[in-house]
Amino acid sequence: PAPARAQDALARLKEQGFCRIAIANEPPFTAVNPDGKVSGAGPDVARAVFKKLGVDDVVASISEYGAMIPGLQARRFDAITAGLFMKPERCRAVAYSEPILCDTEAFAVKKGNPDKLLSYEDVGKNPKARIGVPGGGVEEKLSLAAGVPRDRAIVVPDGQSGIKMLQDGRIDVYTLPVLSISDLLKKANDPSIEMVAPVQGAPISCDGAAFRKQDASLRDAFDKVLAEMKQSGEFAKIVEPYGFSAAAAMQTSREKLCGGPN
């Protein structure tokens, strides 16, 4: 039986005992362990917050960035905790929590950066440079906005594919947040590729947990617990082992990143 509309979203989650979250499988933001268990900084924070809210567990669906917001609206998940960076347009589509994971952009390039690609503009200006971007991710927008034409901004389904395509010479540069690129390069363990970080002119972006607009009350409850955890240092204990800076997240706010109240 479908829960009554008027019913509070949090009460509903408590009743079902878990919260359905969308993740991207992009370590260290989100990850799936060999045993199938979901981890990564985003889900770990969400799990801790929800536990304090009385929701015992999170159940994750892996999804492409572009499919997360439609999936949330289609009630496929209750929240997105995937490193989906806050952007004014996104803030109009979903209700974000306060910032959680902050990072800036990096490039993975061939050893020695033969094309001397340091910024998105460099890619746009070089007529032969092809850049791999996550479909629907911030990096795709940054590239297009910097003048990279559509047919040189190649949508790559996942990080592993991006590195593989770089190794195979299908693309000349692959861009993701710094921590993601460094994680990928560590796994690839390939001396022929290296990282350029941060990308010149790229903004520092932060994600938050994203909820449906109708579930603003759930978002508010989430924010309250998150603030307490930031205060107590518990937050830092979760994110810093993954390489994220807790201070960066605490220095900025949703209002700043969304360019207005959300």
Binding site: A2, N25, E26, P27, A31, V32, N33, P34, D35, G36, S61, I62, S63, A67, P70, G71, A74, R75, R76, P157, D158, G159, Q160, S161, I163, K164, K187, A188, N189
Partner: protein, 219 residues
């Protein structure tokens, strides 16, 4: 490089999900195929029309459109299915439409003379269908049903796109975690092929059993 054997259980979990999708999907497809296939041969215009619309729609649009529709659009009408349910529904209805044509075609291969013999023996329509037509048509359907089931099995890979943790999906996960590309893809290709082999062996075995009486030379 990380040792990928640790991820074998993940692949096997995916194989289990793929097996479930295939079995449930086939069950749904089978049921729908008989309903629609017989419906298309019905004496009642309305039943015929309904069956035709179903068949043409699901054969006409691709499995992607149907899957995305079931997964993203149905919830807007208040029906939220789990990814497994959505996958079974889309695959079952899609393959069912193709199999319905197999049912219809097989029934039409039963010669007119068999119906006439039924009339001459004063059997009712229902009795003729049940005792004479369907048993003969089923033997004709079986090999194609086997192919339909394999098509359905292959269709399950597309379900990975709606984030159901099937074989293909788990291969991607393993790839993301380990950086190995060849191992996960080769191993799932083999697993899919084993499943396909299993399906065709099963249909062939069943076929042989059913055809035994029909073929004098072998009996």
């Amino acid at each position: 490089m990380i040792d990928w054997t640790g991820y074998l259980p993940l692949i096997l979990q995916g194989a289990w999900v793929t097996a479930q999708l295939t079995v449930y999907g086939c069950a749904l497809a089978f049921a729908v195929a008989f309903a629609a296939g017989l419906g298309r041969l019905s004496r009642h215009g309305i039943v015929r029309a309904l069956a035709s619309v179903y068949i043409e729609f699901f054969r006409g649009t691709s499995i992607f459109v149907q899957l995305f529709w079931v997964y993203f659009v149905l919830p807007l009408f208040g029906l939220t299915l789990t990814p497994l349910e959505a996958g079974v529904l889309a695959l079952g209805l899609n393959v069912g439409a193709y199999a319905a044509e197999v049912v219809r075609g097989a029934i039409l291969t039963v010669p007119k003379e068999q119906y006439e013999a039924c009339t001459a023996l004063n059997l009712t329509r229902r009795q003729s269908l049940r005792h004479i037509v369907l048993p003969q048509a089923f033997v004709v359907m079986l090999p194609t049903f086997g192919n339909n089931a394999i098509e359905l099995l292959k269709g399950t890979a597309v379900v990975s796109l709606i984030s159901l943790a099937d074989l293909t999906f788990q291969a991607q996960v393993v790839r993301a975690q380990t950086g190995s590309t060849a191992f996960p893809f080769l191993s799932i290709l083999l697993i899919y092929f084993l499943f396909a082999l299993l399906i065709s062996l099963a249909t062939r075995g069943l076929e042989r059993r059913l055809a035994r009486g029909l073929d004098g030379a072998r009996a």
